[in-house]
């Protein structure tokens, strides 16, 4: 009985310490900010720079921040995605498994697609085909979200002739 209490307290303290350490460890990488919707939160990670850059100069900055497109908008879904993606990104980041090109995965694409439709429903409401998600809005609208060039090796130099 007593033993279990001790164990309980011990475990609790342990958990708190772990949580504290985790917080100290991860906060610099924007964990707290990650709870907000501020684009700067995403940009805490330099690897998000190109995406941020692209977004900043593309058309939607006037209309949408990262999470308007990259997280679902019904409450539970939004937070579960934030949690999972947050883990995913932090994990890859802290373990330095940063792919040569960061690309949106299948889940992200579907989430984003749903958000395009969410905001532009009236515009595209006659497009039965498009709304079935067989094809992504951004297959055609290649640049509205992040502009023309998106990558870690973002090159600001290109000047058209």
């Amino acid at each position: 009985m007593r033993a279990t209490i001790y164990w309980g307290i011990g475990g609790l303290v342990g958990l708190l310490i772990a949580a504290g350490l985790g917080w100290l460890l991860l906060n610099p990488q924007g964990l707290s900010a990650y709870l907000t919707d501020r684009p700067e939160a995403c940009n805490n990670c330099h690897v998000m720079n190109p995406a941020y850059e692209g977004w900043f100069h593309a058309l939607h900055r006037r209309a949408a921040v990262c999470n308007d497109c990259h997280t679902p908008h019904d409450f539970p879904a939004k937070w579960s995605v934030k949690f999972l993606k947050g883990i995913q990104h932090v994990y890859f980041y802290t373990t330095y498994q940063i792919p040569p090109q960061i690309r949106a995965d299948a889940v992200t694409r579907r989430i984003v697609q749903a958000n395009c439709v969410r905001c532009h429903f009236n515009t595209v409401s006659t497009q039965t085909g498009l709304l079935e998600g067989e094809r992504f809005c951004f297959d055609c609208h290649r640049t509205v979200a992040h502009g023309e060039r998106r990558s870690i090796a973002f090159s600001p130099l290109i000047e058209r002739r």
Partner: protein, 409 residues
């Protein structure tokens, strides 16, 4: 929610089953109808567009290359869907065909010209439809290429109504009932913008020569296997094939846009915005004068893109002309050995085989309507091969007349 709500097309008026009049469909879908009507508007582009002109006048070599075939009598620049009935009735090719076949042109010529065809096919059955004389079918044809050719009036989904395509796809083991939307945005066009021939049996039956595949080489093999020829070129005596508008075949042969998942409709029927509503422009025409819409969502810099199109088409035109010159010179050389007892038979035969290959490759590209743009690499490859074979045909023909000892390997 991920896939977005599936939404029925709003349809105040219902379209009666078997309705073929676009104006009636237009009551339900005014925007699409209005834009379809605009296929009557015509403008010239750098190399194409919608202003009819006599291509034989512009390039007299064509008369020599198509000598003895209806295309040598008249070949015009095509224009919008709304003209399809008018233009097939006007063309001299029909009269020539009628003469050649003792009075009546094949009904098959209607197949890709009218919205009434799917209905008539259902009523008469394909074989019967094709076998009926052109003039006789005429009374039953009313509307040009329009809604009923591409849509199911119930779902409004783009649909394959064209028997020849249904049969061709089935032969290739494709299930026409589960095609992706993007495939349909290509295949609705492949109902007509494809190479075809008339089978002898059943009479004038319309066939797409795709049994071995849709690449040029597959089609060539298919025709050779059957010793097929549309006609024998008189002054050379070589049996040759006439190609027609193989847009689909050229485009899908690994072109950059095809591999990127782009469809015909993306460029030729771009979405347009009207009062915040987005719909498909049904003015199927050259994208030349609306590249901002047709190309602009994928390509930001339109002047750059337009310049590239000009460069690609101009270079292709240069090779196409070079191929025609080579073919014409080959014809001169082949004339000299035709029924000539002094000509070495083996070399003469080689020369004729080479000429057929060269003629086929050139005609495939020149019949295609984008002057290479749909697939620059493939078009240029075929033209280069055409030049190579044409020059070799000329060479062999000339060697066929040399005294053996003078012959150089």
């Amino acid at each position: 929610q991920i896939r977005g709500p599936r939404l029925e097309v709003v349809r105040p008026v219902t379209i009666p089953e078997g309705e073929t009049n676009p104006a009636v469909w237009g009551l339900a879908f005014p925007r699409e109808y209005q834009t379809w009507l605009r296929t009557k508007e015509g403008r010239k582009t750098l190399f194409a567009g919608s202003i009819p002109y006599d291509k034989l006048e512009e390039d007299p070599r064509l008369r020599i290359l198509w000598e003895g075939y209806p295309f040598a009598v008249e070949y015009g620049e095509d224009r919008g869907h709304a003209y399809s009935v008018e233009d097939v009735l006007k063309t001299k090719r029909i009269q020539v065909l009628a003469q050649k076949r003792g009075g009546s042109a094949p009904g098959t010529c209607w197949t890709c010209k009218s919205a009434d065809v799917p209905r008539l096919m259902a009523e008469m059955g394909p074989a019967n439809f094709y076998a009926t004389p052109f003039e006789q079918l005429r009374e039953r044809i009313q509307h040009p290429v329009s809604c009923a050719n591409c849509h199911d009036p119930k779902t409004m989904a783009p649909t394959i109504k064209h028997v020849a395509l249904q049969e061709a796809l089935q032969k290739m083991g494709k299930d026409i009932h589960n095609l992706s939307r993007q495939e349909l945005r290509i295949l609705t066009c492949a109902q007509c913008h494809v190479e075809y021939y008339f089978a002898k049996e059943p009479k004038d039956y319309l066939v797409f020569p795709w049994e071995k595949g849709t690449r040029f080489e597959d089609i060539e093999a298919y025709y050779n296997e059957r010793n097929f020829a549309d006609w024998v070129h008189p002054s050379t005596g070589v049996p040759v094939v006439k190609f027609q508008h193989p847009e689909f075949e050229l485009y899908t042969a690994n072109s950059t846009h095809y591999l990127a998942g782009v469809a015909c409709a993306d460029c030729h029927m771009p979405f347009v915005i009207e009062g915040g509503i987005k719909y498909t422009s049904h003015q199927a025409a050259s994208p030349w004068y609306r590249m901002e819409q047709a190309c602009g969502t994928c390509h930001l810099d339109i002047p750059f893109i337009r310049k590239r199109v000009e460069i690609i088409q101009t270079i292709t035109k240069g090779l196409q002309d070079a191929a025609e010159v080579a073919l014409v010179e080959a014809i001169e050389a082949l004339k000299a050995i035709k029924d000539n007892p002094n000509a070495d038979p083996k070399l003469a035969e080689e020369a004729r085989t080479l000429f057929r290959k060269a003629h086929m490759r050139w005609d495939f590209v020149s019949a295609e309507n984008s002057l290479g743009f749909h697939n620059p690499q493939e078009a240029m490859r075929l033209l280069a091969e055409s030049i190579n074979f044409a020059r070799q045909a000329q060479l062999k023909a000339i060697q066929a007349l040399q005294r053996p000892q003078a012959r150089v390997p």
